[in-house]
Symmetry: none
Subunit: 211 residues, 4 copies
């Protein structure tokens, strides 16, 4: 059905600038008005561009908004990934975990508006990226665990649980801040992860809870 002609990839400099302008405007509108109210008209106006111009570069409204979210998501991913690698130099596992928690909270706090849209208003059609993103992080974390430890087969399950745990605690801290103070959240989250990893990756050390 939808045989829309693919929009031309911007090659000229002016075009590229225009695309950036539109994506910037899309982000602003998305954050200010939410997904449902992010109309093409509003985006065009915000970008100082005519409505028709949007369609020079994006097949329709959904592609435009998907690209906005894709770009921003990618930015976050890059920042977090780099910090992750950097933090591997920390001296103890607890320090590694803590440093990553801090980075995560910082990054999320700096992008609260975007996260609100991404986590609370994305229609299923635009969902693909969030899902893909997490799966890639799963693999990254599983790999890191595998390398760092003599972790067995459970590594994937552990990574999966960890990623979802950290994600949501951090998201909630930003989008629905608890009356706890940031330090407490960092401490608790760090403790949660550290205890879990100690239990799972270094089983001899302590014991399974009670039995």
């Amino acid at each position: 059905m939808s045989s829309k002609p693919p929009r031309r990839a911007p090659r000229q400099q002016r075009s590229r600038a225009m695309v950036e302008r539109i994506l910037d405007a899309g982000l602003a509108v998305l954050v200010e008005h939410g997904y449902e109210r992010a109309g093409t008209g509003r985006v065009a106006a915000q970008a100082g561009v005519s409505p028709g111009s949007l369609y020079q570069y994006f097949a329709d409204k959904h592609e435009l908004l998907a690209r906005v979210i894709e770009r921003e998501t990618e930015r976050l991913r890059t920042r977090i990934s780099r910090a992750f690698v950097r933090h591997l130099g920390e001296p103890t596992p607890e320090r590694i975990v803590r440093a990553n928690v801090v980075t995560l909270l910082d990054t999320f706090e700096a992008n609260a508006g975007l996260l609100r849209v991404v986590y609370e208003q994305l229609p299923p059609s635009a969902d693909a990226h969030r899902t893909d993103f997490k799966h890639r992080v799963d693999e990254l974390v599983a790999t890191a665990l595998q390398l760092q430890t003599r972790g067995g087969e459970r590594v994937e399950a552990i990574a999966w649980v960890l990623v979802r745990t950290v994600e949501n605690v951090a998201i909630n801290y930003v989008l629905d801040p608890p009356p706890l103070g940031r330090a407490a959240v960092v401490d608790e989250l760090t403790a949660l992860i550290t205890a879990y990893l100690a239990e799972r990756l270094d089983p001899g050390a302590t014991a399974s809870t009670s039995d």
Copy 2:
């Protein structure tokens, strides 16, 4: 925000039945079509009621949908809370945790359609209830921890982190099922919580993080 005059609460029995019919229809439409496509027309048709009648009981579309979500959320909360209390009779902490994890996954799996809407498509305007819901669960869990242990001041922070952890792991298990198998998820989540609680509530037992 909403300066609309509040509609009269239905007192007649017929009215109450009508409200239920509309809420039922709202739920069905929400689950089948998603938030954006949950139009008043569709809800009215599904309820076998005229569009105008909706406004006898709800100020506008958003109040209607918010009430749908409120009602369903409350149902879930009740079910989970009751099970929580029941599970306190389990013999060991690990068994208590595990039983609650299982209940949670069961309940969420049985309401996947609703959860998808609530967790992926809610506009900010309809968001209030998810938040309230979690705050009440926070209190519940904090209280239980307080009673069960000699846990100190950190109880609230622990409860907050725990609730968010469990919530999201369970939600993800239902809405974006991992290639892990249910048993693995139950085991890991149980281990995560148990290790964390042992660490925090029974600090002497194992290692402390940094100190």
Copy 3:
């Protein structure tokens, strides 16, 4: 693809009146602005109705315009058919033919605006009716010829040629009037048909009809 819900058939009196108002407006707009410029906005304005109301009764723009044309075509057909039957009482074939020619020119002249749209601007999508209409006339004329004469197998071919001949001469007389005077056109067209029928249906005889 197009699973548009069928519009409700108007049962109330008010609804029926509304449909008529819209169709009247559609005709007026069609005649004044032509098919391409017959926008839903213009039709609604002309009808003194809101744009949305159009869609209460018509699935889309094309259904609306098709219904306008259908209704008018049917009116013309009825008028011409009745006259056709009436004219069978004329004393000679030549008089029958002449009477029908006159009726045709009269009717077409009275609906020149509509005919211009129907014959010069109909997109293929709206074409079905013109075609159906002519096929029905073909059958009517073939039947009449069969009854009136001992005409053999060629009756269908004769009817087909006759219908197209008369149609276009009459249409051209109205839409692109020749510098001939109406009487001359009536005479010639009558002579054309009469000579043809005499030749084909009464092969042994000579030309002249009367006698």
Copy 4:
């Protein structure tokens, strides 16, 4: 109506070639997509030219399409006229008529796509040429009749009726083919014309043409 300044007639050879390319493209698009969907963008793309270039040679979209139709119409007219003259050498009037009928059907069949556009979708603005075309044919036929016979003053009326008759029968044969077979159509149309001409131009005689 069109108060736009007339574009300069192309004098350079390259320009002339460009105009031809555009007209060719216009014809292709017109035949493939119909009048309404014959956008300037599509024509430019088909011609391998930029949209802006169109306006170097044509004041607007309508002039462009009108010129396309003008050129094609002229081609048809030329072909038919030449055949007409050639056919005057046939031995009997009936043979002359038949030969022309055959030529007409052949030519129309070979240009069905164009005719569909011209006869079913032309907006009034592009209509002028069809009209002109027929008037010139009228004169041609009237002259021929005048020369061939001692036909009196009615010659013009006869030509007018004849041209419209033949036109529409042929058009219908191509655009909405009857279930008759080509031979039958040729026979009937020939008979129609022959009988009519005999009656009108040779009034004393009987039906058959003889010589």
